[in-house]
Amino acid sequence: MEEMSKTAGCGCSEVAASQNKQKISTSGVSIMSSMDEMPSCSATEAESPMAGYEKPGYRLFSFVDKFIDTDAGPVPIIKPKLQVEDLFATFFVRCGIGRYSYTIAPGLYGIGSPDKNSEVLVTANFKLTFDHVRKELSSINAWILVLDTKGINVWCAAGKGTFSTHELVKRIKKSSLEKVVDHKRVIVPQLGATGVSARDVKKQSGFKVVYGPVRAKDIPAFLKNNNTADKTMRLITFSMYERFILTPVEIQMVLKPALMIALVLFIISGFGPGFFSFSGALERGLPAFFALLTGIISGAFVTPVLLPYIPFRHFALKGIISGSIFALLFLLLSASAIQGISGFIALFLFSVSISSYLAMNFTGATPFTSPSGVEKEMKQYIPVQLASLVISFGLWIYSAF
């Protein structure tokens, strides 16, 4: 239960794990992790314009196009276009694979041909965030100041305190931003405001914080519009696609506990008139296992995707609604494998409890649930879910006799 995030409703269910996975790196260059990997700019291309920027033991990020010289030293210019390897990595990270070490080196980057008058866009060093920003900037000349958020996205990092006034001020000073640009302003994504105090940044660095749009795709329009955001740029959305794209991680996070529960299910399915039988464990364990899968699909996939179309505001209740429908469907399909009405009720309650709990867990991934509301909902529904679970286990054992 402690995993349920109550900081900012931004989907950061577990974050601490990432804290100790920092890479040793400098701006634009990351240390080589293995000897097998060749630098992307191999030494044989002696005439490569990048050759002068290679360092022994380091490897250039593949999104770096070239370097330009500024009064604060060379700054990497990045490509706005994502490469196939970026897309593959995005896919894996969306499935929860390696998402806590998907980082780039913090510091100053550039895109297009930035000069002393170009704006400075601030973002996080989660590679998914960074890719998301750069792919929207193909027509833009700007500086990009990447904060060290330990590989966490802007909103979550702002809630957890890594996308912060302190980190922004530190990064401005470390990159000698005052030598790179002639103006004194930085554009911070609006969702970073949870961690940044514009007034304190100004006081501590001399740079004025201008809050940019919520979404990276609005940056070009925002810049064109004299750094002003219209109302829609300021509002968070949570469309069906935005909900759907979060579900693989929801499911991935539940895999390990689900495996443990499945084990328990097979064990208690073995209890019966002869005390314990392995054939009983297998025979009765299988429908119980499918009831678990039904609950997971309903709570971690269907409820999130269909969120606004399922009645009630409590997520736990939404999970009960969709869980009931799916449990009934499942039980109708597998009626022949389940004995007695008590077995039916047991599996029904089991699926619904799992669905309700996982639906409630999704509050941590949405951009509109308040921690106070989540706390209230948890206090109300965890006892209900637990009671239903206990009854279903009792009934399931009883139904074997």
């Binding site: 109550k6 900081t7 900012a8 409703g9 931004c10 909103w155 702002a158 809630g159 609006q190 969702l191 405001a193 949870t194 961690g195 940044v196 105090s197 514009a198 007034r199 809050y211 919520v214 955001a229 109302k231 300021r234 509002l235 968070i236 959305t237 949570f238 969120l307 606004p308 505001r313 409590h314 509050t363 949405t366 951009p367 509109f368 649930t369 308040s370 921690p371 106070s372 509301g373 706390e375 209230k376 909902e377």
Partner: protein, 72 residues
């Protein structure tokens, strides 16, 4: 976000109109359009949309806003 609403009457958001200096920053940083300017003061126009993210509190120069979601 008008189509997706969470529980009503749970937010701990408080705005002290006495302290508000009318800088509009809260209307700018709030991702849920909770605030609205009326005259030269900010008002809470949509209390139940508040998700207690704290962006307004963090940026209010006069300490007129507070939000306190308790532990965790």
């Amino acid at each position: 976000m008008k189509e997706l609403r969470y529980l009503d009457d749970v937010s701990t958001l408080v705005l002290d109109p006495e302290k508000c200096i009318g800088c509009r920053l809260c209307t700018e940083v709030c991702p849920q359009a909770v605030f609205e300017m009326r005259g030269n003061k900010a008002h809470i126009a949509d209390f139940n949309a508040c998700m207690e993210c704290g962006a307004c509190v963090n940026n209010c120069p006069s300490g007129a806003i507070s939000v306190n979601p308790g532990v965790g």
